[in-house]
């Protein structure tokens, strides 16, 4: 047993840290209160491979949760705005397993948020996962811009009933419930 990050995991976290210290200083976080996730931060994290770390190898994945968690330390340190945890730790592995046809470069580029209730953070993402007994997907493209929130960079919105009703079921049953539970714990 070795309960410590490997050299590679540390190097990955260092790369994330270096990138965020340049691309996501305090001013960028403040700007995100007005304008949402900074595109340069989202794009850069994508290029570094953070968002798709848990995807299949052909999509740039093949990493493990250990790299992911070391990198999340750095995301938290920079207070980087965006559905980073939602996309990388929740949506990507769930889509890879239950709806691989939806897991495309475009989907990840638009961001995928997730919630366990009807209150969705990062409503400016392309889509959002509803993590209940079933795994469901909502299209966030037509959801109205959120009103003020405690942290405006999180773009939190209470999803209207018609949007919730229009959600498509990606997976249900015991296997889905277990995978959702794992994703919830991971997030």
């Amino acid at each position: 047993m070795r309960f410590a990050p490997t050299e590679d995991q540390l190097a990955f976290a260092d790369a994330i840290r270096g990138f965020l210290s340049r691309a996501c200083p305090a001013e960028a976080v403040r700007e995100a209160w007005e304008t949402g996730t900074p595109p340069a931060v989202w794009k850069g994290l994508g290029e570094l491979g953070l968002l798709t770390l848990l995807a299949p190898e052909e999509l740039g994945g093949g990493g493990s949760e250990l790299e992911l968690f070391a990198a999340f330390d750095e995301v938290g340190r920079a207070a980087a705005p965006g559905p980073i945890v939602e996309t990388a730790a929740v949506a990507v592995p769930l889509l890879a397993r239950f709806a691989p046809e939806l897991l495309t470069v475009e989907t990840v580029a638009a961001g995928v948020s997730a919630t366990t209730t009807a209150v969705m953070p990062y409503a400016c993402s392309g889509a959002g996962l509803l993590l209940g007994e079933e795994l469901r997907l909502v299209d966030l493209a037509d959801v109205e811009r959120p009103g003020p929130a405690l942290d405006d960079s999180r773009a939190v919105v209470s999803l209207p009933d018609d949007v919730l009703r229009g959600a498509s079921v990606l997976a249900s049953g015991a296997e889905a419930a277990a995978a959702v539970a794992t994703a919830r714990h991971r997030a």
Binding site: T117, V119, P121, G147, P148, D151, S158
Partner: protein, 381 residues
């Protein structure tokens, strides 16, 4: 002891309730600290209040009041907050400056200033804190130099953390008039015109985006002898009358917390899945607000019988500020994931977080309680 409202008091309560019901603004008002527009909207409403004789229930009629007592004031405040109305744009002048004016003002000062406070013609900000002095007011450095030829003082230095200063036209401030003095000696209480030459007010944006907060710079600002409240060098004593009111009852009337506790109860009723522990928290918050009300009644009885608020006001300050924070924590807990987007409650929460700090930090208040109420040895400073 008699805790039952007299028939006359009850009649007054119903009169106030009825008037507020028929005259309150149709739309609920924004916080007067939010923006210039919000401030002016509150001021316009407070003018309506004044013209109907409700602005200052406990002040003599000649100063713009209703000529009634503190009991009626407390009843009016309960009805005011229960009607969904919030803290007033004019509260610093009404509740912080006026008590010192009544106690230390000359007849001329009282006649000139009090009706303008009640009538929201003058809007007052408080000039206590400085970059190097806050809860410990004895550290004040803003200085006033004697100008005998002009018959007054020349003020230089900086005040800070002044609520609504960017929207106000006047400032009551504690400044050092004796350059040789230290601590709380040699201070004077000045009434400064914020539109005078040499005054610069810079807004400071608060967490929650309100801009009714600011820092004030004085560059040789002239203040005439007529605008010194109390005697020169006695500013500490004069300020203590204000501070007693601020920390004590007047700034935080029980009505405010009763209304807030009621909103919490309403929220809990609308939260069907509230746990037993959450319902217990709400009940305790409601009981605390009732206890604060009875504590207030005790204080007012003492004042009515010729006593004063004194150092016990520090107990009050610690109590109401902790009560305010706790009530908001309970509300956010009930709201769960909706807490982030319920503007009223989260905004109230971040505002409440400042209450253990402002009006003298709770650490300073606890020192005062230890030394002056409990008679414990002085702390090392």
């Amino acid at each position: 002891m008699d805790l039952v409202e007299s028939a006359a008091d009850h009649e007054f309560r119903l009169e106030a309730r009825d008037w507020l019901q028929h005259n309150r603004p149709a739309e609920s008002l924004p916080s007067p600290d939010a923006s210039r527009e919000a401030f002016e909207a509150n001021r316009a409403w407070e003018r309506v209040l004044f013209e109907a004789g409700w602005a200052a229930v406990s002040w003599p009629v000649e100063y713009g009041g209703r000529g009634l007592g503190l009991w009626e004031w407390m009843i009016f405040e309960e009805e005011y907050f229960a009607a969904g109305l919030g803290p007033r744009a004019a509260q610093n002048g009404m509740f912080l400056l006026a008590p010192s004016l009544f106690e230390f003002g000359t007849e001329a000062q009282k006649a000139a200033l009090l009706p303008r406070i009640a009538g929201v013609e003058d809007m007052w900000a408080q000039g206590w804190s400085e970059p190097e002095a806050g809860s410990d007011l004895a550290g004040v450095r803003v200085n006033a130099r004697r100008d005998d030829a002009a018959g007054g003082w020349r003020v230089n230095g900086q005040k800070t953390w002044s609520t609504r200063a960017p929207f106000c036209n006047r400032l009551f401030a504690l400044v050092r008039t004796d350059p040789e003095s230290t601590r709380h000696h040699g201070l004077s209480y000045l009434l400064i015109d914020l539109e005078a030459p040499g005054v610069t007010v810079r807004p400071v944006r608060k967490l929650g985006d309100q801009i009714g907060f600011g820092e004030i710079f004085f560059d040789d600002v002239f203040v005439s002898d007529a605008d010194v409240l109390g005697e020169v060098g006695q500013g500490w004593k004069v300020a203590m009358a204000t501070t007693g009111s601020e920390r004590g009852l007047i700034l935080r009337s029980p009505g405010r917390f009763l209304a807030s506790a009621q909103r919490l109860v309403d929220l809990c009723r609308k939260t069907p899945d509230a746990s037993a522990a959450q319902r217990r928290d709400v009940t305790e918050a409601w009981i605390r607000a009732q206890a604060y009300r009875y504590g207030g009644m005790k204080t007012m009885t003492r004042i009515a019988e010729g006593g004063s608020i004194g150092a016990e006001s520090s107990i009050n300050k610690v109590f109401w500020s902790e009560m305010d924070v706790r009530a908001h924590e309970i509300a956010l807990d009930l709201l769960a994931e909706r807490a982030e987007i319920d503007t009223d409650w989260w905004h109230g929460f971040i505002t409440s977080m400042a209450t253990p700090i402002f009006a003298g930090t709770n650490e300073i208040q606890r020192n005062i309680v230890a030394e002056r109420v409990l008679g414990m040895p002085r702390s090392g400073r």
